[in-house]
């Protein structure tokens, strides 16, 4: 043994253990996110559980999904007021998602395995996703139209009837959204423009006759807008009324019957009755909805489309800014600057900026870009809408600009590395043939270094997509009312606030009132973000490796 220690073998093993542990951590973490994130969309079976506690008169009935289970010492369970016999040391407890927040007030609860009867999975349990109050779990009783029963749960085609009627209410809902998002928001926008015109008259010095004509025009337009708003309002009211036509009567776990208006329902499923083919189908549908839908209920339900879209737009704008500057700066440092002490200092400083905490960039962005630059832009170009700031408040452009500054060192470092890898023979060859420096640069060197620049840009994008701390200060919000790109002139709205995947994770996971309900969604969002970043990074790594191989042969 002593000999073995002397040889140093145990230390080598320990060092190996460190690598093993790190690898387990990386893959464990990605695996954890993937399992939790992907698992969220699987329509898991809903259990029907009876609990017979010795003291209780009647068994307690639960209907819900199992979230997770845990083994705990009995003492802990006793501390939390549970009845556990003295002879038991350890107990298993289950966290159940019971839904029905509007009925019972508690949609997640822990229950001890101890007194549970064997779990059953009756086929007639419905899971109802609603627009508010989260999921509903229960057994169907009847379907009502204007208060009259039109079908009962005993009928064989009951589930299909429910689905047909839900499709009807969903299509009405689409119409409502079209009206609200289209015509009504058009009217609002025009009204806002009129208001600004009116203010502009007050600020600019306009001859009186022009001003009064303007004012008349504004008043007339406003009048006609208000009229057409009234018409649309009536149409909307009628639509809203018709969504309330049908109701579904359900029985919940404690035996009460509850009526649910179909207009508030997003989807009804009966997971226990689903076949092995239906479940994957349902899974894909829900995953698709998650990726393409807007969030509901304070971001704890629904999709994350605005967050994905916001992240992509911001990163796109950032790339447009950072690419030329980063690449030109790198070319300057490598090809033009005199390689002396000064250049060395600059180079080290630039490299070090990659290590400066991102929050510092956020502080700078807020102070300099938003308050200083944005405030000046507002005073110059958006005087009419003051004191409401246009650019003098956090928004897409400032977020992109801040991130561009943050990722500048990454692009510079990567491009410089690419430039330095190009064998000097190639450069000399070009110069020897009589090409000028710029011709050599643009026609020979830069094309050769393009993959390195791509690598830098991809790494910059990956970094920007995952950065949250500075964005909290310069333009990302928990819920943006509209996307930064739409059909309205000038199509890309650089002043709008955006949603962001990373901030969405922080906000839903930590600022949400119902953390347990939000948790699966956070995992799913994290999964999307991790996938995005892992894919981007792997691309960058593979480009770089190919590049290295290529020049290894050229420089030898």
């Amino acid at each position: 043994m002593k000999q073995w220690f002397k040889s140093g073998a145990p230390w080598i093993w320990l060092n190996g253990g460190a690598v093993a542990l790190s690898m387990i951590m990386v893959f464990g973490l990605i695996g954890l996110i993937a399992v939790r994130g992907f698992g969220h969309f699987w329509p898991s079976d809903v259990a029907y559980i009876e609990i017979n506690e010795p003291q209780a008169d009647a068994p307690q009935v639960l209907i819900g999904e199992l979230v997770r289970s845990q083994v705990i010492p009995a003492a802990v369970a006793r501390d939390s007021g549970e009845q556990v016999p003295e002879s038991v040391d350890l107990v298993t407890r289950h966290l159940l998602k019971l839904g029905n927040r509007d009925q019972t007030g508690q949609d997640f609860s822990w229950f001890l395995q101890l007194y549970m009867e064997p779990w059953e999975y009756p086929e007639n349990i419905y899971v109802i996703e609603r627009r508010e109050w989260g999921n509903f779990y229960g057994q169907p009783v009847a379907l009502l139209e204007n208060g009259d029963v039109v079908a009962t749960a005993e009928q064989a085609d009951f589930f299909d009837q429910v689905q047909t009627r839900i499709e009807r209410s969903l299509s009405i809902y689409d119409d409502i959204e079209d009206l609200e998002g289209g015509e009504i928001s058009d009217i609002n926008r025009t009204l806002e423009r009129l208001r600004l015109d009116e203010r502009g008259l007050a600020i600019r010095e306009v001859p009186e006759e022009v001003a009064s004509a303007e004012r008349d025009r504004i008043a007339a337009e406003r009048e006609s807008l208000n009229n057409s708003y009234g018409v649309i309002r009536q149409e909307l009211d009628a639509l809203y009324d018709s969504t309330r036509r049908d109701t579904l009567r359900m029985r919940i776990s404690d035996g009460r019957e509850v009526d649910i208006t179909l207009g508030t329902i997003v989807r009804v499923t009966a997971p226990n009755a689903m076949s092995g083919f239906d479940k994957p189908l349902q899974y894909v549908e829900r995953l698709w909805e998650f990726m393409t839908d807007e969030p509901r209920e304070a971001n704890t339900e629904g999709g994350i489309f605005p967050a994905i879209f916001g992240t992509v737009t911001m990163v796109f704008v950032m790339s447009i800014i950072v690419t030329p500057f980063g690449i030109l700066a790198a070319i300057y440092l490598r090809e033009y600057a005199k390689q002396g002490l000064m250049t060395r200092i600059i180079r080290i400083s630039v490299y070090n900026l990659a290590g400066v905490p991102s929050i510092v960039y956020g502080v700078f962005g807020l102070g300099f870009f938003v308050y200083f630059l944005g405030g000046s832009i507002d005073e110059m170009f958006y005087e009419t809408s003051l004191p409401t700031p246009t650019f003098g408040t956090p928004g897409l452009f400032w977020a992109s600009l801040t991130l561009a500054l943050l990722t500048l060192p990454i692009v510079i470092v990567s491009t410089e590395e690419g430039l330095s890898r190009i064998p000097s023979t190639i450069r000399q060859g070009s110069l020897a043939l009589g090409a000028t420096k710029s011709e050599t640069l643009w026609k020979v060197i830069v094309p050769l270094a393009t993959p390195a620049m791509m690598t830098g840009l991809i790494l910059a994008i990956a970094r920007a997509a995952g950065e949250v701390a500075p964005l909290m200060l310069v333009g990302v919000v928990k819920l943006a009312p509209s996307l930064p790109v739409d059909g309205e002139f000038p199509f890309i709205h650089l002043d709008r606030k955006i949603m962001h995947l990373g901030f969405h994770i922080y906000d839903v996971g930590f600022q949400s009132p119902n953390v347990e309900a939000a948790r699966p969604l956070v995992y799913a969002t994290a999964m999307v973000l991790v996938m995005l970043i892992v894919i981007l990074n792997l691309t960058a790594i593979s480009i770089r490796n190919r590049l290295r191989e290529k020049y290894r042969s050229a420089s030898d």
């Binding site: 320990l14 060092n15 253990g17 790190s22 387990i24 300057y332 490299y351 070090n352 700078f364």
Partner: protein
Amino acid sequence: MTDFRLPDLPSESASQRSLLPNAEQRKALRQKRARRDQYSRWGITASGFGVVIALLTIFVYLFYEVAPILKGATIEEDVQYSLSQTGLEDVEHLVLERYETLAIAYSPDGQVVVFDVANGAPEARFDVPKPEGSQFHSFFSAEAISATQVYGLDNGQAVVVRHGFDISFPNDQRQLTPKLEFPLGESAITIDDQGQPLKLISMETQTRGRNASAIAALTEDNRLLLASLTGRENLLTGQVQITRQVTELPAPPGGTGDISKLMVDKALRSLFALDEDGRVHYYDISNPAEARLVESVDVGGGNEVSASAFLVGGVSLIFGNDAGELSQWFLVRDDQNQYRLEEIRSFRSHKAAIREITPEYTRKGFIAVDADGQIGVHYGTSSRTLYLDSHADVPIEEMAISQINTRLLWLDQDNQLVSAELWNEHPQLSWAAMWNKVWYEGREDPEYIWQSSSATDEFESKFSLVPLSVGTLKAAFYAMLFAMPLAIAGAIYTAYFMTPKLRGVVKPSIEIMEALPTVILGFLAGLWLAPFVENELPAVFSFLILMPVVMILFAFAWSKLPTRWRLLVPEGWEAAALVPVILIFGTLCLQASPWMEVWFFGGSMRQWFTDIGINYDQRNALIVGIAMGFAVIPTIFSIAEDAVFTVPRHLTQGSLALGATRWQTMIGVVLPTASPGIFSAVMMGFGRAVGETMIVLMATGNSPVVNFNIFEGMRTLSANIAVELPETAVGSSHFRVLFLAALVLLALTFIVNTLAEIIRQRLRQRYSSL
């Protein structure tokens, strides 16, 4: 003779038809190319400089935002006029209103004049009503923000008045209409039933809870009286009904004869009576019927206290004496739960007797004026004297400051009124206030506290950066504690012992690890790891402590296996062989965890910690250490791996050829050569840990505590910025402190990284020379 002919020289026309460019075209082309070359050079140089300038701007701008903190106050006189402009001859008290256009002067004979600050022209005049035949005898102005003053009469009665302004906006112009109100009724209140003149008077009104006031008075025959008044407004008639209770207070040792000033605190719990020997007699009047003298304290240092005032909030007392010394005092609770008046701090001395002390309206600052005509701007919390300069040749008698602290109005002995602009934006901040222990109001001892804002105006901002800095270091320390062994050991193994095949998997994985957004690490740490660790404490600790032992045991057992088996895992694959070992051992720990809790910790390790007196927060430094360690590992790993890997081959080969084992070569040759690189890796990792925001934000409770307990949370500089910056007012002291925090972070990480980078470059040079 053969016909010899020269070949035709190309004629003009032929050359035009030639495909080659002629001299002129060539010249043009050359010029064009040279121009392009120039443009390209300029363009690239410009953007190169642009980037450098942009990066410089970060530093410059942060400095620019922080710089005003260091500035003192300035006072610029703009107008001066005689008091006679206002129509008054003598003034007891001056007040400046919020918009700084009007001022109010109270005269000893009950006249209240509202006048224009710019020229002294009177705008309104009120006469304080008094009973027939009586005379005004004494005067006191209560806390400035209450706008309340009291006149004592020579018949033992008192009149309480309050000034105010109605604001209206006719034609979009602000118009202030002064008014005088009587919060305790227009008729005089009897304080002394014996009808003696009130020589001294003092009052204060409680603003929280019930509507109560207290008036303390000293009568001509030296009785010290305390009247407690409760006002109740009749809802129907609007008349104020006053319930009055008068008690006579015991005389202090030395009698009441030399009492020169009375002061009641705002909570109506204590009364301070100053005498001519510079002593303060502190009475506990929380129950007026049982009022008692608690102690007599010398606050003047042997000199007479010539001026005194409460700072806003009515907790701190400022005393100025004949020698020009200024000190701050407040009541501090001692071990026996008794309040004692303690000297908290002193300020820079004036050269002559202090004449008046004027507190600010919403901050713990005050203006002191003296008999030499000097004006001093001081601040309590930060013990700063921001300004001290002479503004008159004669004593300054009265001083008024506006509510927004931007204008002063004073009256000197020659009855000259001077209005001056004041700049005093950031008095709360000083080196001492940010980095030393500060004795805050209501605390028993000087402490380090970060508490930047609160709901009330009377709140004393506590801007100690110590808790945040300690929190930052604490988070970084635990992160490094976790990350350093793993990353360095891992780097050594990967660079030197691992087979290239495995290395091709490990290196990209580590890069992926580096790229993982910290928001995801933070969220997992806060929502998954923290509850997990709390539930499985025994498993976590046994895993952390026993894992190395298990690894070595496994390695030993492996070395004893028959060679045939051993060859299954060739050299360089040890890490892969350990993966299942770690997984199995981890699972075992988890399975055993509840049993360990039952056997050793009475059922719950969490509870056991509480029982032995260790505070346990769910989101604590352990969680941060693990999560941030995870973020830091790849930084350290990549650089350290690079340093070890690039150690020149001939060194190690030489060592091995001389018979050293692989490990001996590692310890004896590789590590000494690569150690500067590893050191710079650790520094880079530290730099990253110091600035990390999201992980600490999500994985700790963000409470600014000053300790290194692994089971408690912390608040770091960066998380503090993220939490507070979006909610502070632009340009406020709080805003600038947060910018300062950002600047500190920037400077710190920049220095650390630069050092690391320089070390690395040195190392590279050394390798190339070897």
